[in-house]
């Protein structure tokens, strides 16, 4: 392969990343020139849309390349995953308008997205490590950025410390794996699963646990509720959906082609199951919307990791479909949440009481989101869950599939409780309550379209994943 080809590949294969980077650069320039915080959003939006479009286009063209041998490669499926996640970032950006007027949000989000894009493509742990850090680091800042209340700092700090611990754990695992195999290649992870060597085994476990920590799987979940509650709506939305999805895609990349085996299986069965039950139960008593979503996301991390019990073949599809279905409705709920000058009020579940009578659209959208999160048909959450559990059963882990489903049953209650508040409980608006902003609602509509598409044409979507 000659250099020219390689350069072209480097350009093409990383086109989405380049577009994001370009957006970042433009934004930084604008920031430096001190103008256009208003147009920053549009620039960011443009670059995300362009990146997503590029990813879809390349995926559609069946583009596959490895411009940096052993470091970075793309396949159509990976590109599709990137495109999907990038597309999900659009509503996040749109709903950020009501909270963030500065350009920093956009820059940070773009850089985080850049990290996100690296993950499913990484061939070596080096790139994956950078991807994880690039994904998470801007979020520390983002959590703080809206700073509506003192707890935001606490929230950011907790996230930072535990995420740092995750980083260290990840590195420890990588290091041991490196020692055992002599290679930083991600493809060593799969075979290592079956290894009987203790060090290799510990390495694998540590890497996996680091991902559990990032994705908030019990018992590594504790940061999530506190962080989500302390952050602002768009950031919580981002963390609950894209960040989590990216970590899962990283996990898919790690496991690439390998079926779960050995001690990992136990971890993949038990901890996600505990997560499902824990998350769903703890969510019952919550009073804060974001906190509730956090517990919900803990449970969903459980379902997502269940996918790794299934055969490797359909794993990316299952995870991606789940992430998309789960994210799109989560974003839907966040996008239409009424605005309120008082962040505590906005976040409070009590504020949702009787929302239907004040704002039927928002209430209906939140209800759809909750039902989909609960995994009730015909909403996309169901098909997503179905796919995962189908794979789990196909792999022979029927008992755990049943337990997982029963665990998911526990969650129905608190989602319904939200609907109950929305529709069946009398409530008054607080004086400062307003409808969600126009862009935010536009984000909601986008998500609704996505939800409907996933609900009506899951087959079509799956075909492309």
């Amino acid at each position: 392969m000659n250099a020219a080809m390689n350069t072209q590949d480097a350009l093409m294969a990383m086109l989405p990343e380049h577009l994001l980077l370009g957006g970042m650069v433009v934004l930084i320039m604008m920031e430096i020139m001190g103008r256009g915080s208003r147009s920053a959003l549009w620039v960011a939006l443009g670059s995300v849309v362009a990146a997503a479009a590029a990813a879809f286009w390349l995926s559609n063209a069946q583009y596959a390349a490895a411009p940096f041998a052993g470091q970075f490669s793309v396949t159509p499926a990976v590109l599709m995953a990137k495109g999907a996640l990038l597309a999900l970032a659009v509503p996040v950006l749109l709903m950020s308008r009501t909270e963030f007027s500065d350009g920093e949000f956009s820059i940070l989000l773009l850089s985080s997205l850049y990290g996100l894009c690296l993950l499913p493509s990484s061939d070596s742990f080096l790139v994956m490590f950078l991807g994880l850090e690039l994904l998470a680091m801007p979020v520390y800042a983002l959590v703080l950025l809206a700073f509506r209340r003192p707890q935001s700092a606490e929230s950011a700090f907790k996230y930072l410390v535990l995420s740092g611990a995750a980083t260290a754990t990840f590195l420890m695992g990588v290091s041991l794996l490196y020692g055992a195999t002599g290679s930083m290649s991600v493809s060593e992870f799969g075979p290592a699963l079956a290894s009987s060597d203790v060090m290799t085994r510990s390495a694998v476990v540590l890497v996996l646990l680091a991902l559990f920590l990032k994705a908030a799987v019990v018992p590594f979940h504790a940061w999530a509720p506190d962080t989500y509650e302390g952050a602002s709506i768009p950031v919580t939305a981002y963390m609950a959906t894209l960040t989590k999805g990216a970590v899962l895609l990283a996990a898919v990349r790690l496991f690439s082609g390998a079926n779960a085996s050995g001690p990992i299986v136990d971890l993949l069965m038990v901890l996600p199951l505990v997560s499902i039950v824990w998350g769903n139960l703890a969510a019952i008593k919550q009073q804060s919307f974001r906190r509730m979503i956090a517990y919900s996301s803990i449970a969903h991390a459980g379902y997502l990791f269940y996918a790794f019990l299934g055969d490797a073949e359909g794993r990316l599809q299952a995870v991606l479909f789940y992430v998309v279905a789960y994210s799109v409705v989560n974003l839907l709920a966040f996008a239409v949440l009424p605005q309120n000058d008082d962040d505590d009020q906005r976040d409070s579940l009590d504020a949702l009481k009787g929302l239907y009578h004040r704002n039927p659209f928002a209430a209906a959208m939140i209800a759809i989101a909750m039902l989909s999160l609960a995994g009730l048909p015909p909403f996309p959450g169901f098909a997503a869950k179905f796919l995962i559990f189908k794979n789990v059963v196909a792999a022979g882990y029927t008992t755990y599939a049943v337990l997982g489903l029963v665990g998911s049953y526990l969650g129905i209650y608190f989602y319904l409780r939200v609907i109950q508040l929305l529709f069946m409980t009398a409530g008054e608006a607080t004086p400062s309550e307003r409808q969600a902003g126009g862009l935010s609602r536009a984000a909601g509509v986008l998500c609704l379209v996505g939800t409907l598409m996933l609900a009506v044409l899951p087959g079509w979507v799956l075909d492309r994943m």
Partner: protein, 523 residues
Amino acid sequence: MSEFTMGPMLLNLVLWLPIVGAGLVLLAARANDSRARTISVAVMTVQFALALLLYLQFDATAPGLQFATQLPWIAQWGVSYLIGLDGVNILLVLLTAFLGPIVVLGAWTSIKKDVPLFHVVVLLLQFAMMGAYLAQDLFLFYLFWEAMLIPMFLIIGMWGGARRVYATLKFVLYTAFGSILMLAAVIYLVQSLQQSSGVMSFAFADLYQSQLPLSVQSILLGAFALSFAIKVPMVPLHTWLPDAHVEAPTAGSVILAGVLLKMGTYGFMKLGFPLFPDATRAFTPLLMTLAVISIVYGACLALVQNDIKKIIAYSSISHLGYVMLGLLTLELVGIQGAIIQMVSHGLVAAGLFLLVGMIYDRCHTRELAAYGGLARLLPVYSVFFMIFTLASVGLPTTSGFTGEFLALMGAFTAAWPAHLDGHHLPLVLAVVAVTGVVLGAMYMLRFALTFLFGAVKAPHHSPEQPLLDLSLREKSILGLLTIAVFALGLFPGGALQKTELAAKTYQSLVTTSRLPAPAGVTP
């Protein structure tokens, strides 16, 4: 029948009309209550007309699905959009479509708040119920099956009584629990079909080919049965029903009793039993016992209720016990009886709930003791009440008789040879089930006695402001139901003819063993 090529299109229309209607209500009637009602009733009526047309065009001699549509939907999973009419669902589809306009008309004045939303929700529910009956693909069925929950959740929760939130949560959580396990079973079933035959399909017809060992069949049947038995509901999984009925608005009760509960028995008939024939036969004694317990238990509890809605709610448990009994006899007579009983209960319970709703609208209490002598006060109302009471009791010439009579006859017909062979349980059960006939008379007549006879007593009634007897609207919906009740009581032949082939198919599916070939033949 060859000239009738519009069938599939019409069937799709029957299914999707409510969605169109819901859209119209949303668009055209955002804050206009009466327009919402009009659209709703118009859509439902058209749906019924189409369903009736299809019923008439249905060829009773042709096996298999009719007017079927099959489109690939989720090709990767072998899921297709497959709907069609067969003998099992045709009457239920007709019933659902028939009750549609009645529900809307019944709620005409009693639903006062959030009227457009109410109609949207009712239409969505209608869509989901219709879909569940029409679906011939397990995935699709499950989708509709679960989708029914949400509108019902809203109907009870938003327009219900004082304890509506408790009731509606209980309803949904109870039902959802069954569904979750059923989902697991569905996945396993499809997966094992794929592994054994290489066919990835959710179509009922394909799943009927599956061969599973008895132990697996039993577990899967257990999961399906749990889900369906909750819906039916069979004792001891019934406690959600009285609460749901009591708290639901009239329209909710009517739909619940009229259509939704049949979903459980339909599920047994269409899926539970035919999918796992060997397990079904192995567990018939248990299931039959539960069915008979339901008959007696429901009746006994109806006997001591003081809430008029609860009486009917418990009577539903009792009546659906006959359906289960009939289905489990595996005798043609019993099966046919079960089908008729499903429809009959749909009509009768709907009528009774409407009647209770009408009196509730006037007097605002559900306490039996608060009433008396309504026959003197509201003669027209009382006549209808008497008719539906008697239909519920199963008096000959009403639909209730046709169903109960055939179902019990089936039970007995099946039990007698078993008895001669030394298996006495079925006979004992059949005899106990017959006592349900007596208990049925006891609780319904107790109800009627306190309600209609004796000294005039009714809240919100005074000589100066007497209660108004039924309005023309109320009379006409009850009249329609009455006609249906008598039609099915006096002339069930036509309906039975349409379902006979399906009943036979069901019978042969459940009686034919489908255990896998013995080990050694297959690795």
